[in-house]
């Protein structure tokens, strides 16, 4: 059913730390590896070794140059489904293939009833859904629903593949509907933010902002060199100043 549940019992989601993410793409490849054999399998790649390669990936990491208050830095930005509380991608679905689970809030696609009309991907402001040209159905992040409840895995591994793979601990998984959960406390402590709140989708995933650097962030432009000689100086130091000023 594409009607949204009145309220999800839990709000499972990810907390992504933009301060610590180093852009290594480990979450991207581990997501692809797990899910191309998991619930949304296969994640088709077309022409993977040629020009025009085109494949389905459920997690993409962008690299941005971020400038604010005269300081700039590089920010790596992982982008995947935010498992919104009011996702229009679900309500626009004409077949009921897209649905949001009442038990944990995870948004899923039933590949057996998806007709591949692509309307859900138009309805997502975040580009979280990718169409599989070969399978003719829409694919999206499942929050690794086939890992997090999987009794055959060690308890420590019952987290989404992207979270398990992150080498710097920039990805956290938990119940964001429970204010006492570790994920919620992290969001609280670090001022975690939602993406495009103005769209009104009420995303569950949160992004932790980059911390201000100790002693101030790197300036957008390097500081001018300090003169080594006083005004009116002559000789070697004056010559050094002239050379460096050019």
């Amino acid at each position: 059913m594409t009607a949204l549940p009145a309220a999800a019992d839990k709000k499972l989601g990810l907390v992504i730390d933009l301060d610590t993410c180093v852009g290594c793409q480990a979450c991207v490849t581990s997501c692809k590896e797990w899910n191309t054999g998991g619930l949304p399998a296969p994640l088709t790649d077309l022409a993977p070794y040629e020009a025009g390669a085109d494949g389905v990936w459920l997690n993409r990491v962008h690299a941005y140059e971020h400038e604010a208050d005269g300081a700039s830095r590089t920010v790596y930005f992982p982008r995947s489904c935010l498992h919104c509380e009011t996702p229009a991608c679900v309500t626009v679905c004409p077949t009921g293939a897209s649905y949001k689970r009442a038990a944990d809030g995870i948004v899923l696609v039933d590949a057996d009833s998806c007709i591949g009309c692509k309307l859900c991907s138009w309805a997502c402001p975040y580009g979280a859904r990718e169409y599989d040209l070969d399978a003719g159905v829409m694919k999206k992040c499942t929050l690794c629903v086939d890992r997090i409840y999987n009794d055959t895995l060690e308890e420590a591994d019952r987290v989404p593949a992207c979270v398990a793979a992150c080498p710097v601990g920039a990805r956290h998984f938990g119940d964001l509907g429970d204010p006492a959960s570790a994920a919620s406390r992290l969001v609280e402590a670090r001022g975690g933010a939602e993406l495009m709140p103005e769209m009104g989708y009420r995303p569950v995933n949160r992004y932790l902002p980059p911390r201000p650097k100790a002693g101030g962030a790197a300036a957008a432009a390097p500081e001018a060199l300090e003169p080594v000689a006083h005004d009116g100086a002559k000789g070697f130091l004056a010559w050094v100043d002239r050379v460096l000023a050019d």
């Binding site: 594409t2 604010a68 982008r79 692509k118 309307l119 138009w122």
Partner: protein
């Protein structure tokens, strides 16, 4: 947004078909069109053929057309599902009306009631088509009070221009038909011009700063992938401003100005000259409205491109 040929054909062809169907379904029972077999058969078959061809073509872009029947199930939430249900429901009263007009040569009584029902369902179907686009928050050009009335007006406009040609061909021309076609064409022209004016002044619904939650200035350093992915191909279609300007001028000329002039020629003349002008209006409006619909997609911008270096959505 990527302009898919099947969706452009669907919305323009079924729009014209629904426009003609609604006009015949109202004007026939009102006694303004003759309850004559061959006129009724030609008009209603043309209308239903355009509608059916459009509906079938809309299934061509599906990944699984054989599952299209599932799209009738989610009418409680989905405008696409509502469009599907209403489009199929419309056939029932339309076929009853066709029975009366063609077999019984009678468009009164129960057939008149069927006509009104067909016209109402037709209007609701076209409203649903418009709402599919008007209900998408990421696309500001579509999520607009102009979208649904636009779809209704353009359906009525292309239908009225078709009816004018049909009436001319059957020698049942009255001054009302070219006058009606000219009137709705002028209204459509004004509406499209106002829509473009609004869209050109539209503020971006989000920014790279809000899309990433970072604020400040956010510039793309590197894409996550070296080639265009599905999201960029589907949502990232961009048209150069000078091409868009040229196509808008073509739309002004072919969809509105020329058909309007041709309808005025029909109004001023009669007989063979009027018929040629009426047919010319149909032909050039068909091309013009297809360009209009292509631009509707090509000029629509999606917020996801903010992640790929677009500064405004």
């Amino acid at each position: 947004m990527h302009p898919a040929t099947s969706v452009i054909f669907f919305t323009t062809a079924s729009g014209a078909g629904y426009g003609l169907l609604a006009l015949m379904a109202v004007l026939g029972p009102a006694g303004l069109l003759p309850a004559e077999r061959w006129f009724g058969a030609t008009g209603l078959v043309l209308a239903l053929a355009l509608v059916t061809a459009g509906l079938l073509s809309s299934t061509f872009h599906l990944g699984h057309p054989e599952r299209a029947w599932r799209a009738f199930s989610q009418w409680r939430t989905s405008w696409l599902s509502r469009e599907g249900v209403l489009s199929v429901l419309t056939y029932a009263p339309a076929l009853v009306l066709a029975w009366g007009w063609v077999i019984a040569e009678d468009t009164s009584g129960v057939f008149a009631a069927a006509g009104l029902a067909a016209a109402a369902l037709t209007a609701l179907t076209v409203v649903s088509t418009g709402m599919i686009y008007a209900s998408l928050p990421p696309i500001a050009q579509w999520r607009s009070p102009y979208t649904v009335p636009g779809y209704l007006l353009f359906a009525l406009m292309t239908g009225a221009v078709l009816l004018n040609a049909l009436a001319g061909a059957f020698g049942i021309a009255r001054w009302e038909w070219p006058a009606l076609a000219a009137l709705v064409t002028a209204a459509g022209w004004a509406w499209k011009t106002a829509t473009w004016r609004r869209n050109d002044r539209l503020a971006s619904p989000a920014s790279p700063g809000s899309a990433t939650s970072l604020g400040g200035t956010v510039r793309t350093l590197e894409w996550p992938h070296t080639e265009e992915n599905y999201v960029m191909k589907e949502m990232g279609y961009r048209i150069a401003r000078r091409h868009a300007a040229k196509l808008r001028r073509l739309t002004h000329a072919l969809a509105f100005a020329a058909p309007l002039a041709a309808c005025l020629v029909c109004l001023a003349t009669g007989g063979a000259v009027a018929l040629v002008a009426a047919l010319a209006a149909v032909a050039c409006q068909a091309v013009g409205i297809a360009i209009e619909r292509w631009l509707f997609f090509a000029e629509a911008r999606h917020t996801v491109m903010l992640y790929y270096g677009a500064e405004v959505a």
